[in-house]
Symmetry: C3
Subunit: 376 residues, 3 copies
């Protein structure tokens, strides 16, 4: 791909609304009211006595006081100013000092569901909220994998995090003191994409394993020697990136070849799970976890990997927040894309397409979706 | 009254200028320069050697340095940058390195007076500053009453404080842990209004006294038993609210009946005195005091009541500042009024009328004032 | 000069770009990357292995990450995100994962030079950067003088600092607790100006020396008695002010008279060196030093003078930052000039002229420069 120019601020909005976004880890939501801003909308979350998650707009119909400053009475939320009661669907059920309830008295209730240890919210048209379109992060609760992660808050457009994850060559420069080395920056990659996904695949065959993976492979499979290493970055619009990483003994069948299925059984495999949810146009909630398919019961390793990744992501935060500030200081700046930006470029095109579709009549949509189904 | 809708930001300005506003407690102003912003205007206050209060614009005519960074020389204020001298009327009397004084050299001097333990300032047309129109807060220094209070700074439009005070049902929800209970929210009230005032009157006859008042009545009058209780909230435009509260033995004559004057002599009576002064469009100075007409010499009770009210008002501050932020986050939002909002609605109409009058020719004014002199 | 009015915010820009500005003390720039904003432009500074100072725009061509977050490799600066390399002229020399380099890939490189212990940067048209036009601050490294100073950051338009320095009567009011007294405010002065300079000269003949100078003169020259004292403030557009101060025994020849050169050999002489560089429209970098031509080897005196001046300048900072805030709070305010503002007024005219020249065709320029070459 030739270097080309693009304007990061071309979209009317940086995110589509007709999409599932992670709004909380499952354990964060309970009988205490949890306030959070998602896609510029303030919401309040809680669970009913039956454990069902409710998400309502966080502003009382009467005087806009955040409902998160109120309290629960059974399944109802009571405003902390004048005591209006709302049920879990956002309907006002009682008002102070009067018997009737104004029929317009309600607050927005959002479609939500719980999957893969996260709460997912749909910010757009409720009738389009198809549970089948929740991004796949099953590793988070799959018994064949051991996973643990965190939620961090980053003061940048969520798309800058996606740019970052779609190009792992940055490891060499941002994470030079931890996981980076020049091998990744030099390895060739293949970029492909589909209707809602873009994938960057890198195979490094017969190489010396980097220290981290050499150690994992020896501990888990008792193997020392050359390896085949992979990094498969898969973006799912608008905000999810899973990174399939690992090593296997060189020539043991992990590398996919025509006519043979890949056999990773002698290797070790991890998944870096990332889903970024816009908080505002310039800040995001970043839910991540690291999952592995080996040494599943070693709690020490789980703890070590979680904190190791957390330290690395802190290095990214500094870069991402500085980049956001630089973009703000240079309004209208046009950016040039390098080879390494292929994945990020496709991710942004898919996001832009979703945003466009929300403001475009249906026939035009289907025409456009054909156009972009070509190879990178 | 039916619920109706209103737009909180309809006024061109949220406050009239032709009105007396409290700008300081009397003890705050002395021979140290006191800087404060009143109705978006920065002022500096001090007392002359004779004890007269002066309030000048807080910006030197020459280079705008705040005069509050200067110092007093006798009755004159000397700028802390180049030493221009101003007399108590704001006239420049000397300039550095030159003999003459530019005739235009002066800063604005504001009409002020001292009454009811407060300093009152007139921000508008000086010729309209009628000392007779200072709001009545005489309880603050009446020997028949024991009063004490504080000044707090609240980061909200002063009208949100008025809304809060004009509807005491909020006590149930905001002050549930202290003075609130559901009795007030259930009691009926009568709303009336005049040219510059609006009043909400609630009488609860033959009820059990709430613990606070039961205790006050027993300590002061040695009475236990059912009571007649009252709450009479009186708004005086643009920023003063007095709340007449108390209890008397049931049937002892406190309740006003046709043909009989009210006799509260066997009861106990308090006044919550409140006057709110706009600092900016979204912040205010809130001067309050609690006065009582019993146990006048008990300093412990004075202290206890003052700190008790202060704790309650801190709960209001959290709600009011959150409400202001929510209003800002929802520009143009239209609000619906409930029955409980009758008092606040009238208060805002009277404020709007004062603001309108300032930008309207006189004949039109008198026509309008007839129109609004009808019962609620 | 009669008082006249002026509008501080009349200029389209508060500073010319075609001028040398101090951007760092020489010792500040080395092999660590130094980020600073000069005239609203973010720059990064470092020295090559040969000790040459380089200043580049502090934003990577690729994704705008500040280059100051990167690192040096030899004479090249490597971006801390994706590893683009830049040479000392700002040309990109390598990109990750690709062989070619986009020909447009470069960042702005600024003309710089090192003189009088400062690094000077030229923010405007490079072809106009004439090394001969660097302001004269030779006292900073002249062996006949002992000098020491500091860099302070002031949150005000750099021109407010110039106003301050051009009128030393403010010493009486701002520095009343240290160096100020009323003598300076009362002494007459002479104002002159040239093409790029404005000078205020004050001679006080046969006076009692102020305590500071009396002490310096006695320690250095063993003299007690009446003195001739001078203050010669010289502004060089756009941002440099040198103040020649000192005393000599009365009648010893220091006062310049027609037909005789001034002889200061029996006196003591100091120079307050000041050069202010706009950081933004409302903040500046203020490089200052105090130089003396006596007791050159007394380190204790050097230390004492530096810290003494630093304490005095902190008093100015409070005034200057308050003045900037007051100006912002009064947009469009017109200012009146007093006699004492003669020097500041000329300094501002010379700055305005430089700003005008940058947006005006050349013929018009030369006409204007004739017009202003008249006496004050």
């Amino acid at each position: 791909m030739e270097p080309s120019s693009s304007n990061f601020s071309s979209s009317p909005s940086p995110f589509p609304l007709n999409a599932w976004y992670a709004c909380a880890y499952d354990v964060e939501v309970g009988r205490d009211l949890l306030a959070r801003t998602i896609c510029n909308q303030k919401v309040v979350m809680y669970r009913t006595l039956d454990g069902e998650v409710c998400v309502l707009a966080d502003a009382c119909w009467h005087r806009l006081l955040p409902l998160s400053m109120g309290r629960l009475e059974g399944d109802e939320l009571v405003c902390g100013y004048h005591g209006l009661h709302y049920n879990a669907r956002g309907r006002c059920t009682s008002m102070p000092s009067q018997e009737g309830v104004n029929p317009s008295a309600c607050v927005k209730s959002y479609p939500v569901l719980e999957r893969h240890r996260l709460i997912w919210i749909w910010m757009g048209e409720p009738s389009l909220a198809d549970p089948a379109s929740v991004p796949d992060l099953h590793w988070n609760h799959d018994p064949d994998w051991a996973a643990d992660g965190k939620l961090i808050h980053v003061k940048c457009d969520y798309r800058l995090v996606i740019d970052n994850l779609m190009d792992l060559t940055h490891e060499t420069y941002v994470h030079g003191s931890s996981i980076g080395n020049s091998a990744v920056a030099e390895a060739p990659f293949v970029a492909t994409h589909g209707h809602r996904t873009a994938t960057i695949t890198r195979w490094m065959e017969g190489i010396e394993a980097p220290p981290f993976w050499a150690n994992q492979l020896f501990q888990a499979r008792d193997y020392k020697g050359p390896v085949d290493r992979w990094q498969i970055i898969r973006f799912e619009a608008p905000g999810t990136v899973t990174i399939d990483v690992g090593v296997a003994p060189a020539g043991s069948g992990a590398v996919p070849k025509e006519g043979h299925a890949s056999d990773r059984s002698q290797g070790v495999n991890g998944f870096v799970l990332n889903t970024m949810t816009p908080e505002t146009d310039q800040s995001c909630h970043y839910f991540w976890a690291f999952a592995r398919n080996y040494s599943l019961t070693e709690q020490r390793l789980t703890h070590q990997l979680r904190e190791g990744v957390a330290n690395i992501f802190r290095e990214d935060e500094l870069v991402l927040e500085a980049q956001q500030q630089a973009i703000n200081a240079n309004p209208g700046h046009r950016f040039y894309n390098l080879n390494i930006d292929a994945g990020a470029m496709w991710a942004r095109r898919l996001i832009d397409k979703m945003v466009d579709e929300e403001s475009t009549p249906a026939p035009h949509q289907s025409q456009r979706s054909i156009v972009i189904k070509q190879a990178a």
